[in-house]
Symmetry: C2
Subunit: 258 residues, 2 copies
């Protein structure tokens, strides 16, 4: 049985806030019998409050600058008939997303929020702090909402991880017919991130959830972080948008014919 719940009563987070103390207080305020954190629980935190605590806030008139600053590489862009430009970019962290994770929702008017500087490091600090404060050997994931190729809508993904196996290691295991499961590498960190969006919601102020029931995925704090989920562009068949790749090919083809 997997149980997933959002922590109640987490208010506005300000720069410098101690998230370990905030989460601990929210756990303590939860009056249910089993609310205390336990060994093997996974604490899943929306990146937005990590960014706020880390002071990753910019004035909104810097939004395009902020996107550009966070962008390592333009992957694809498209202009709508109404003139709205969607930019899909690779950001500093290697993550491919719209607008480099620069966020203008749920922030004070006139400001934007950048992603945490190093979400894996943020997750490690939070996991170490929570382990020390509660005595429970918990894992931590930090999540962001990302769009996908080929499918409409967004789902939450893990962009930071500490003390959690981000992939389920099936190497050496076999399927029910006894054949090795060689191809499958379930990204359990992204599956946990997605699951917690179902209790955290977007409009509500419920930025932290707890997942109980996959104790086997919790481990040492030096396990590989969410950076290991990112596929390097050179190994990605979709490292560039189709229109952008076509245009580059067209130029090269024309030059080659000259």
């Amino acid at each position: 049985m997997l149980q997933i719940w959002a922590l109640p009563g987490i208010g506005e987070i300000s720069p410098g806030a101690d998230l370990v103390a905030v989460i601990r207080a929210a756990v303590d305020a939860d009056s249910r019998a089993d609310a205390d954190l336990r060994d093997g629980d996974i604490v899943v935190v929306t990146s937005k409050i990590v960014s706020k605590a880390e002071g990753r806030i910019l004035r909104a008139d810097d939004r395009e600058d902020a996107i550009t600053r966070e962008t390592v590489r333009l992957v694809a862009s498209r202009t709508s008939p109404a003139g709205h430009v969607t930019r899909i970019v690779e950001n500093r962290l290697g993550i491919v997303s719209a607008a480099a994770g620069v966020d203008a929702s749920n922030t004070p008017e006139g400001t934007v929020l950048l992603l945490p500087e190093d979400p894996d490091a943020s997750a490690r600090a939070l996991a170490a702090g929570l382990r020390q404060a509660t005595g429970a050997r918990v894992g931590v994931l930090i999540t962001d909402t990302l769009g996908r190729a080929w499918r409409e809508g967004q789902t939450d993904h893990a962009i930071g991880a500490a003390g959690v196996h981000v992939f389920e290691d099936l190497r050496g295991t076999t399927d029910a017919e006894g054949r090795p499961l060689i191809v499958t590498l379930p990204c359990v960190a992204d599956e946990i991130a997605a699951a917690t969006d179902l209790v955290k919601g977007k409009a509500a102020r419920l930025p932290v959830a707890v997942v109980r029931g996959r104790e086997d995925l919790v481990g040492d704090l030096d396990l590989p972080g969410a950076r290991s989920i990112v596929r390097p562009a050179e190994r990605d068949m979709f490292h560039l948008g189709a229109d952008e790749a076509y245009a580059a090919g067209f130029e090269a083809g024309r030059a080659a014919a000259d």
Copy 2:
């Protein structure tokens, strides 16, 4: 509180099996106090057993034929140094995945499994049958394991749906600052599919899970199915692999220069 559990004791599924009866028997065999299906529960079924029940089995020496038959369009392909070809294709259902969903794991030696002919129709039949058999107004999702652009590993996604809102409709809602949440369209069906992979596992024979706690997402059987999650190629910035788009552009550029 979201609760997710796998149904115990579902054995091998044979062509012609009555999945309503199979799932009902598994629910009845579950001795926990709250195991009976209730209004608002979402029953999440791995496509593999739906395919088996529907007899979508082919002899394995037809595997490449089966992939080709299921393929509407080659999206991208890559040959590894060892000569292994990975084909990313769009299948009959519009779903972009490796090998068109043709599956050779967890099937009897010498056979492959195709995806259900029409997973939304399968989900509707299952949901209608379960509602009639149990009296509980449940929703049904049918899932498949899919790889992603830009990220390593796979996660489970919804390829069939009935009686469940596949997107959370946030139109008209506002964020905590009172601004409209216009861009965000959470694909809750994919998030639920991902969540249930955490209890179903790949090697275990646990192909059915129940999600309890999002009763608000369950509705009429004629809600849009999982087909509505598929982004049509003409609206997808990644409708073609970068190498394939570059090559097409190169040919066009060379021809234009002639």
